[in-house]
Amino acid sequence: MIRIGLISMAHMHAYSYARALLTMDERARIAGVFDPDPERGQKAAEQFGSQYFGDLQGLLSKADAVIICSENSLHMEYTLASAAAGCHVLCEKPIATNEEDALRMIAACDQAGVKLQIAFPVRFAAPMQRAKELLDANAIGDILCIKGTNHGQMPGGWFVDQELSGGGAVMDHTVHVVDLIRWFLGKEVVSMYAEVDTMLYDVDIDDCGMLSMELEGGIFATQDPSWSRPRTFPTWGDVLLDIVGTEGILRVDAFAQGLTVFDDQERQVVQHSWAEDMDMLLIADFLHSIETDAPPSVSGYDGLQAMRAALAAYESARQQKVVSVAK
């Protein structure tokens, strides 16, 4: 039985990860909730039938592994503390807000001999898993280019606070699509051009952008990370990839599996998903890597490379030119 500590409920994914853990009570249990916001932490602990810890070390002493869903800028601090306590780490994306923090997180977990997995749940969506199988089977020949989108609604809260999030729509959504592209192709992004701006909302952070990148082997890709879904949109957003190969075109939509519901009571149109729960599959994968002592399926380095691409997008937009992406 793996004891999982929840560190911060600041990110909404914390709640779906916790719900997933409750369905896996033969493999894991929630050891407790730490949150610097006591009200939020106590409420979550109560919701999930667990204990609230006002002291991080108190939780770490009771846990084998942690799930970190704090504001992005705090990922490093919590990861270092967890690694020092010998806890495996599943950290919400993006890995961090800057390269130095990410490298420290990776090094700390390496040195402590604990796993560091970055939470990219979209990899675990059934259409994405099937797309990966098709691409690995060379179903559409050599890949030429990819058009990606990860649109969303403007999340508000700490997501629009530069100090806490490290960036707006481009930071929030670039990492998902870059991670999928890297995973699908096994190739790194080598250069980036981006337009980044604040045009949709009165916020002090980017809310829209457009990225154009080149990967190893001359493959190119674009990505639209904009928080451009209006409030009346039937769902929060999308993750969509059109992959153009020499033998075919593969279109994969992580969130297409749903009903459209017209609800007069609520006066809205909503999408009701009937897809397999990607968050549950992500948690199951994290538990499996601990149970079998296997390397995490999505490593700290994967998180670093996705974040580097997002940071390169900001740099490109600042310089208004193509910039290279480190690896």
């Binding site: 045009m199 829209c208 154009s212 020499t246 030119k321």
Partner: protein, 323 residues
């Protein structure tokens, strides 16, 4: 008004249908490679000509409608304009912005009009999107996406570019709605290992700040053309997808698909007919209804996109300055 047609069958065919639908008399027609255009004359009951030169010399034309490749159009349009004849010409008018500028100057010199054929603006879905934008209820536009993926055309030759040949239609719509393009980052499979066709992905920044993504492709892997448009604004969004807007679909293994008719959109007047009506109205009124000079801004954006594909760098559109 005495009208002559010159060009390739693939490009002129839908226009020929429009002339027929409106019952507009066409005086003469010629193939772009100076061959008599028997097919057009059978359709339109007009006089076949051996060349544009013959038509101009013998038919006292008022207007010539040209649809050929950009380099041929440049030559044909110049010939017609110097004869003092109005010209309607497919876009791109010419191989470059500077060449298009020369043609427009030639038209002014001879006191005739050179009207770029902007059929896409007359597509009811694009016209409706523009109308909705202009209505203002959706607020300031911010992010726009366009898509246009088609089967590889029969007449695709090695020097054709998907950006110049197809994406230009969406770029024209964008220039119409949002004004000139400031900068372009373009990538294309052209010249890379690809059995045929081409796929291009562009990001653009309009001078008014709007951020754009454009996709265009000729692919042997698609059976039906598809096109899409998405405009995100501060207070809402416009979405159109050709695949979701068909008024009629006919399935059945043994059925004759042509029974569904050539236009599953079921329009009384398609974009070509609406376009031709506007052309004739403009030339009859000889007013400022066309704004052909915005063609230079469009062509400059196309030139920048092609340059960006070659250099793999962002290219500022000539005449535009950085924000």
């Amino acid at each position: 008004m005495k009208i002559g047609l010159v060009g390739s069958k693939a490009l002129l065919q839908p226009h020929v249908e429009a002339y027929k639908a409106l019952g507009v008399t066409v005086t003469a027609a010629a193939d772009w490679q100076n061959q008599p255009a028997a097919w057009m004359c059978e359709e339109l009951n007009c006089q076949p000509a051996a060349s544009l030169g013959d038509m101009l010399a013998e038919c006292a034309l008022d207007m010539v409608h040209i649809a050929a490749d950009p380099a041929s159009q440049m030559v044909l349009a110049a010939e017609a304009l110097t004869h003092g004849v109005h010209v309607v010409c497919e876009v791109p008018l010419a191989p470059s912005a500077s060449a298009a500028q020369q043609l427009l100057a030639m038209a002014a010199e001879h006191n005739v009009r050179l009207l770029p054929a902007r059929v896409n603006r007359f597509g009811p879905e694009y016209a409706a999107a523009k109308e909705r934008l202009d209505g203002g209820s959706l607020g300031t536009p911010a992010v726009v996406r366009t898509e246009r993926v088609l089967p590889i055309p029969d007449e695709l030759s090695g020097d054709r570019s998907i950006i110049r040949g197809e994406m230009i239609k969406d770029m024209d719509f964008l220039v119409w709605c949002f004004g000139p393009v400031q900068r372009v980052m373009a990538r294309s499979t052209q010249g890379r290992r690809h059995e045929a066709g081409e796929h291009a992905l562009l990001t653009m920044r309009m001078a008014n700040g709007v951020i754009v993504h454009l996709e265009a492709g000729w692919s042997s892997h698609v059976q039906e053309p598809r096109w899409a448009l998405e405009i995100s604004c501060r207070s809402g969004m416009i979405v159109h997808d050709s695949r979701a807007s068909q008024g009629l679909a006919l399935d059945g293994r043994a059925l004759d698909k042509s029974l569904a008719g050539p236009d599953s959109w079921l329009l009384m007047k398609n974009a070509y007919i609406r376009h031709l009506e506007a052309v004739l109205q403009c030339l009859n009124a000889l007013d400022n209804c066309w704004d052909e000079h915005s063609e230079i801004a469009l062509m400059a954006a196309v030139d920048a996109a092609l340059q960006s594909v070659t250099s793999s760098e962002m290219v500022l559109v000539q005449g535009e300055v950085q924000a």
